[in-house]
Symmetry: C2
Subunit: 118 residues, 2 copies
């Protein structure tokens, strides 16, 4: 397997645990969220994993981070970049595909999923 292949790498990173959840959390706010907000919203995630994933997403360019140093302590704001926002379409397609074919009897439906709301 060639780790340099675009789609393998893409699938590898979106398949990572919590990554999609974080993207969707940022999408749902469709604005900007702080670290602690995200942590509170995404139930079950630990600080370590959240910061780790955010760093990965930032590196990949999906997430933008803004730091406000004028406050004490400093405030960090996260939001989807254009790249990240553009990825939402693919997530929607994945959902449509899964629902169309009824993959692995899922509970959420196109119109109302308590998590993704797509």
């Amino acid at each position: 397997m060639d780790d340099d292949c675009t789609i393998y790498k893409t699938a590898d990173f979106i398949g990572k645990r919590w990554t999609l959840v974080i993207i969707l959390a940022l999408y749902k706010g469709n604005g900007t969220k702080r670290y602690t907000e995200l942590k509170r919203e995404i139930s079950g995630i630990t600080s370590k994993i959240l910061s780790l994933r955010l760093k990965e997403l930032e590196k990949q360019g999906l997430v933008k981070k803004r730091i406000d140093t004028s406050t004490v302590p400093i405030s960090c704001y996260y939001s989807l970049s254009k790249i990240g926002a553009d990825f939402i379409g693919i997530i929607k397609d994945m959902k449509s595909w899964a629902l169309k074919w009824n993959i692995d009897n899922r509970v959420c439906s196109m119109s109302n999923c308590k998590n993704c709301k797509l």
Copy 2:
């Protein structure tokens, strides 16, 4: 994180190592391939992982398996189901997305990737 959510589950399983490679191997042949053929074609994969992934994909309905018992030893043929074939579109979209935004300086390009040929 709700493990019942459609898109999390979908991302989880396509993000698994080798899964995408196997789907693409079956797509490229766009016909039917035998276990040993797949193993030979996908360099680096072990018997264990290949059979494990094939089983998962079969369970999810992406892959169909046909067994010919009239031969000795028996012959097994794998191919993409309609569901699996329909998923190729999403893979293509993922690739387009990654290339459009130039994610993580990859080496393959839209027109010629030695692996995926999409």
